[in-house]
Amino acid sequence: MQELIKIKGVRHAYQTDSGPLPVLDGLELSVPEGGFVAVVGPSGCGKSTLTRLVAGLMKPDAGEVWLHGEQVRGPRPTVGMAFQNPVLLEWRSILKNVLLPLEIVPTKLSRKQAEERARFLLALVGLEGFEDKRPSELSGGMRQRASLCRALIHQPDVLILDEPFGALDAFTREDLWMTMHQVKEREPFTGVLITHDLRESIFLADQVVVLSGRPARTQYVLDVPKAGPRTLDDLYTPQAADRLNILRHQIQIAQGRAPAEGGAS
């Protein structure tokens, strides 16, 4: 399989009043085409910086970011993004919000086709009948679903999700996890998911990357082999418990609360 996203030895520091603040140092990450990688790590370890690098919104101080065999040097229309804040435009209907990227990215779709595609995506995430509503009329979970449709409308190669479910309540979040699986089945994408939720990471991703504390490097990689479609019951198996334990221990190491060697449960 071709590596769609490849991050090699990336180093980055922010300039602050008290001198440079290194956030990433020695970050390695690769995602095969169609893969879905979750990135977990302590708060403030530079996970969001990682998404901005992949999206081409900023350049690393050192190291390389490759997408589709091309080095990323700036923003590219083949990327879709969704954040914790759904950032829907309040003055547009849900349908018009979803169509927004097509006003920027060159598209072969006619206006009618684009609208059909938007309606198809909205139906896929369970928002049929809400096309003409304003974002303020929707609940938090529904807005996040709409934001997901907007990220997918232009058929991006890469979907970057920066804690998209972080602000939702537990039940809504689980609903959206199931939705993600349904979406991925109908609209395959290569994804990078930033999250704080370890259950979310092993439920959605086929590989979980643990970043160390700041400055972040790749500390641990856990493969989550996919055996058939996942259900929420899969989270309550001994296997899942083992994975969660490994990840929790790795996070503790990253936070500096557990020694790096030995002591794994």
């Binding site: 081409g56 923003p75 229309p77 990327v79 993004m81 804040n85 950032v87 309040e90």
Partner: protein, 257 residues
């Protein structure tokens, strides 16, 4: 809106007006004030009927010059707000100047302006209405733009959108509620500017000049009638701005409750 709510939205302000006028009338009667101290509402209709043609022509002069100054303020204030909203350096450079300029009492500017542009009455009046009203617009636009959450920028920037596209599609519409909030303040301020020029440096035009002639002729009910006419014009312009806000930024309105 239900019929009851519609009725309330008209009846409640009207009732408040009647109560206010009744209190005013009572106060003047109770204190036994002569008209040169304080005219009563009942003194106003005769003043209007005696000079109705003057009120029409001079009211129109005041109104168009105020609106012209306000439109200038909208254009200039928005441009200035954009410059300060997008550039940190320009914000740091211009804010102290703007605040300083705004702190200068505009009554002291009137003689200066009147001297610089001698005889240009219309221009002078429009200029003063503009000078007094562009400040809130510039500040609100600059704050609206500089506080735009970075994610809003990023969703378009990540797709390769230009700064101009981001401004047009996101920053501008998102700033509209703040802009209209400032425009409501600016609309009433512009009237103050127009009348400052008309009263301090009277040149026989506008309601301010009518006020001044009331003063020289000791026609006190006329002076009060002018003030009420100005208040009326201010209310009309304010509600025009409210109507525009409903059209262009109605999405920002939340139903109460």
């Amino acid at each position: 809106m239900t019929a009851r709510a519609a009725f309330n939205s008209v009846a409640v302000p009207l009732l408040a007006l009647v109560v206010f006028l009744a209190f005013w009338e009572w106060l003047v009667w109770f204190k036994g004030w002569p008209t040169f101290k304080m005219a009563a509402p009942s003194d106003l209709p005769p003043a209007y009927s005696r000079h109705w043609d003057l009120f029409l022509t001079m009211g129109w002069q005041t109104l168009w010059r105020t609106v012209a100054g306000l439109l200038l303020a909208v254009v200039f204030g928005t441009l200035l707000g954009m410059i300060m909203g997008f550039s940190r350096i320009m914000r740091d450079a211009l804010y102290p100047l703007l605040v300083g300029f705004n702190a200068i009492p505009k009554a002291t500017v009137v003689p200066i302006v009147a001297l610089i542009f001698v005889g240009q009455h219309d221009f002078n009046t429009v200029l003063l209405a503009f000078m007094i009203s562009f400040f809130p617009i510039a500040v609100s636009v600059s704050i609206g733009l500089s506080t735009l959450e970075p994610e809003y920028r990023d969703i378009l920037r990540a797709l390769g959108a230009s700064q101009a596209t981001i401004f047009w599609k996101i920053a501008l519409p998102k700033t509209l509620p703040e802009f209209f909030g400032a425009l409501k303040v600016a609309a009433t301020l512009a009237f103050i500017g127009t009348n400052l020029m008309e009263i301090v440096s009277p040149h026989g035009r506008g309601l301010g000049a009518l006020f001044d002639s009331g003063r020289t002729n000791s026609d006190f009910p006329l002076m009060f009638a002018v003030l009420i006419a100005l208040a009326f014009l201010g209310i009309v312009l304010y509600y025009i701005v409210v109507a525009l806000e409903k059209i262009f930024a109605g999405w920002a309105e939340r139903s109460p409750g």
